[in-house]
Symmetry: C2
Subunit: 169 residues, 2 copies
């Protein structure tokens, strides 16, 4: 049988979000409802064909997300995620989680941090392919000159999330 995943939908201040969790309670994907096709594509790419059934995510996950949007900015740090990309991508995504809320990092700095100072664009790419938005905070990476450059969920949402975390833009 194929991995059995649960798809939940949550209302948030930045729009409806899709949350995919596995049997172990780890988050496999998180995205905005208006990008559902892309989320499914990423899931399929990393885990192969998958059985996705609508249902309720574990309270632990739902509560953490609610708490985050209510102002407890560290609530998401304790949510377990499970991803499955190339070595490079896993390096990037893992480095992302070490950026605390309220801070930002440039693409170049992040590249340096994983030991590939020159793989700057590649970091941007890996960033864009992050299957677990918000929890793995790809929105905290911005251009070296302070511009927001891009965001898979739309730059507007990136700005909103950063503002919510108290970053000056």
């Amino acid at each position: 049988m194929r991995p059995e995943l649960t798809l939940d939908r949550l209302a948030t201040p930045v729009g409806e979000m899709l949350v995919v969790t596995d049997a172990g309670g780890a988050v496999r994907a998180l995205d905005f409802a208006d990008y559902e096709p892309r989320m499914l594509r990423l899931l399929a790419r990393h885990w192969g064909p998958v059985d996705l059934t609508p249902g309720r995510a574990p309270d632990r996950v739902r509560d953490a997300i609610a708490a985050y949007f209510a102002g407890d900015l560290t609530a998401l740090d304790r949510v377990p995620v499970k991803t499955n990309g190339t070595t490079f991508q896993k390096d990037v995504w893992s480095a992302l989680r070490s950026i605390p809320a309220g801070e930002t990092v440039s693409y170049g700095a992040l590249a340096a941090r994983i030991g590939r100072p020159r793989a700057v664009r590649a970091v941007g790419l890996a960033n864009g392919r992050n299957p677990v938005g918000v929890i793995v905070p790809c929105h905290r990476v911005i251009g070296a000159n302070g511009t927001l450059t891009g965001y898979a969920g739309g730059v507007e949402r990136k700005r909103a999330l950063l503002a919510h975390e108290g970053v000056m833009v």
Copy 2:
């Protein structure tokens, strides 16, 4: 965990053979020992990364193979196989199993039989990618003019198998 497969090795009149079976007792791959790399490649292509552990194939399978080489030409008909290719490939492979021992079919005839009279070379291709040799009798397909044309395990073996089945070549 990944699908757990068993790899057995059997001595036969045409050389040592490799037999891969799954937990359900179905044959996933069967090839000659001197083509091991290709067999592994096919397995990987169809099932993804796979855990292959040396071990004994089910008696049901071992006995059927032994019986076939001992002269019971229909013994292999009852062996369950499990393959995973494109639609076209599955059509071809399934049509192959309906060719009884002692008969041969031309590539063109087989193409016609699956409803694609002109996909002649494609049938040849699909034939060559058959992961389960002998049991799925791709050796019973020969050129329209009676020549053996080719065989993944070497034309010599094709000739030997057909001779064993009582075909005049």
